[in-house]
């Protein structure tokens, strides 16, 4: 029996900021969920199940927060699932929700991801002291910087490429009212003059720490037929994992990422992603990950990803726009960051992205990764239902 086609009919997010001191965690997730319901013109009673995701519990210090959020998300009397795959969790949460519809378990599912980083400190949460081990590093930047250097060595990319990505994403964010950073006076010179934090990664090439939530309403064909606005249709979705460290791991272009993309393209009938995909929203917490993922996802040959960035192909008005929303570089409520990528891909094919809408997007890829480049989740959505 074939799978049920899955449609995105509602999208909501909060205005991402450094600290939402006016709301509780429940209030934060509720705001995004209510906006997604409003977009779909549905009520809480129309939802059959809730799938929620967030990054490690240490990021707020609320153990199993899904238990306390059942009321806020209208989940009483319904199935509620919590997903966790580190930074990729927003993407894998959406895919778990997707599969409940594709498998005809439920007709309409609310999926949501969040982080309220102001309640804790992610750098602390990622760097707990371990007995007998030399404390060497704090936070994610130092972990990923050596991989960026390895990419630069491998490809001989000019060392300005990272700043081009940051300058582009921060300008894209100016067109997105939900983005956290709105740096109106950003210039390329300012990015390039910002301090080196973890050389080769500069301050302006790193993501902020945000409070925010993102929600989507997913539904089947019957639900999509009732949708007041255009739906985004799922054409392919996949997740892959690999260990954090193993002999032979390619930390620059992990095999799990390549396999995940290949699975998505195969489901969607894509043979030339560079030509057949119109826009990409990928998980780039440090600027150099744009060229790295362009290669990992098959948009450029190995060693050539930086050339797409450098030549302007990934600009908002380029041939393959990347991170139209401003990306993780402009907004990073960690647990929600993957779902924001997925939601942005859906907004683009629905034609609902507002000022950062790219004309004529028919197919868009949403991408997330997490842990030590070990969890990958991706979906490809289209403006038309998949061919049956």
């Amino acid at each position: 029996m074939s799978k049920e086609p899955v449609a995105v009919v509602g999208i909501g997010q909060t205005k991402h900021v450094a600290a939402r001191r006016d709301v509780s965690i429940a209030g934060l997730v509720r705001e995004a969920a209510q906006r997604a319901l409003d977009d779909a013109e549905l009520t809480w009673a129309d939802i059959d199940a809730v799938v929620i995701g967030k990054a490690p519990d240490f990021f707020e210090g609320v153990m199993m927060p899904e238990l306390y959020l059942a009321d806020a998300l209208g989940a009483v009397g319904k199935p509620m699932l919590r997903v966790h795959t580190a930074g990729s969790v927003g993407g894998s949460t959406a895919l778990v929700a997707t599969n409940l519809i594709a498998g005809r378990v439920h007709g309409t599912v609310l999926t949501l991801a969040y982080e309220k980083q102001s309640e804790s400190n992610a750098m602390w949460g990622l760097s707990l002291p371990i007995p007998f081990q030399q404390p060497l590093l704090a936070g994610a930047g130092g972990f990923f910087a050596p991989h960026v250097r390895a990419y630069m060595r491998r490809t001989a990319a000019p060392d300005t490429v990272g700043s081009l990505v940051a300058y582009k994403d921060r300008r894209n964010a100016l067109k997105n009212p939900y983005a956290h950073l709105h740096e109106h006076d950003i210039t390329l010179e300012k990015v390039q003059a910002s301090p080196m934090l973890w050389d080769p990664i500069r301050y302006s090439e790193t993501c902020p720490s945000s409070d925010g939530a993102c929600a989507m309403v997913l539904t089947d064909r019957v639900g999509a037929a009732r949708s007041p606005r255009p739906a985004a249709w799922l054409h392919g979705g996949a997740m892959r994992s690999e260990p954090t460290m193993f002999a032979g791991k390619d930390c620059v272009s992990p095999q799990a990422g390549k396999d995940c993309a290949a699975d998505v393209y195969q489901q969607a009938g894509i043979t030339d992603p560079r030509r057949e995909i119109d826009a990409v929203e990928m998980y780039v917490p440090f600027s150099w990950y744009e060229p790295m993922w362009l290669e990992n996802l098959g948009f450029a040959a190995e060693g050539e990803g930086w050339k797409l960035t450098e030549s302007g192909v990934t600009e908002l008005d380029g041939d393959l726009p990347v991170n139209m929303s401003g990306g993780v570089l402009s907004t990073n409520p960690i647990g929600a960051s993957g779902m924001i990528r997925f939601a942005e891909a859906a907004l683009q094919v629905r034609g609902q992205a507002g000022e950062h809408q790219v004309d004529g997007v028919r197919r868009a890829l949403g991408h997330a990764y997490g842990g030590g480049s070990q969890f990958f989740s991706m979906w490809l959505v289209g403006a038309e239902p998949p061919a049956s």
Binding site: S120, P131, F132, P135, A138, G248
Partner: protein, 314 residues
Amino acid sequence: MPEVLKAPLVVEFPFTRSLGPVQSAFLTGLRERVVLGVKTGDGRTLVPPVEYDPVTSEEIRDLVEVAPTGTVTTWAWNHAPRRGQPLDTPFAWVLVRLDGADTSLLHALDATGPDAVHTGMRVRIRWAEERSGAITDIACFEPYDSVETPEPAGHDGRFEDMVTGIVAPARLDYTYSPGRAQSGYINALSDRRIVGERCPSCRKVYVPPRGACPTCGVATVEEVEVGPGGTVTTYCIVNIKAKNLDIEVPYVYGHIALDGADLALHGRIGGIPYDQVRMGLRVEPVWTDGGRYPDHYRPTGEPDADYETYKELV
């Protein structure tokens, strides 16, 4: 089998909570010795209050005052209170349905012993002398023998100087054990030897060993000494000082493939100006007396390794 290492691990953080409108009113009320509940769509009063109706999912904001007296609906005796609990002498954990409420609040009951506690007993709040807008503003409950029920004043939940956030410190006490393989690795380090384990299937040497090969999924047992020389495969220069790290910046955080190992381990590179570190640099460990690990790695003076010889390890 050699002894497996163990050590205490304390994970502790002062988490902050932004309260939102309902919890803000509830906790500010406690500061003012007022207990507030919230009305649901079906007319019940929930204490403690919540922000969303558990039946209809609608937002609820209609706050009502309830009495400081109530009835124990169930309980459990705590014979050995732990740090941070409401009382430091044995007490009962109780669920109390306050007069005027339809749900029960969890708190502590100060009682002489389990024989002095029963479901259905009448209790009242004992307020803390110093109150700040926290659940601990209720010091505990105490038995209440009067038949009188104080009438709530009908407070609407609006106060001067509302509490909008609290600090909720959390602490977890673990006993950490690195397991057999890493214990062997750590013990060898005290003898200034670096040992890994070879996978019997793919023959790769893991340093530090994890006891199993993550690729083949089989146990590793064959011990292999590696190094002491190694190659810096990649690195970054850390320029920001982390709160919990006692290392002067800038310093170089490197991936070091020790000779004979099939993946790089992580260490600090020293004994060379930070801006002269490079991929391919040949290094060796520098030990300190009593150290559990090499303090850092320094250049050996050998010529740099050719990229082709270590690129598979990057």
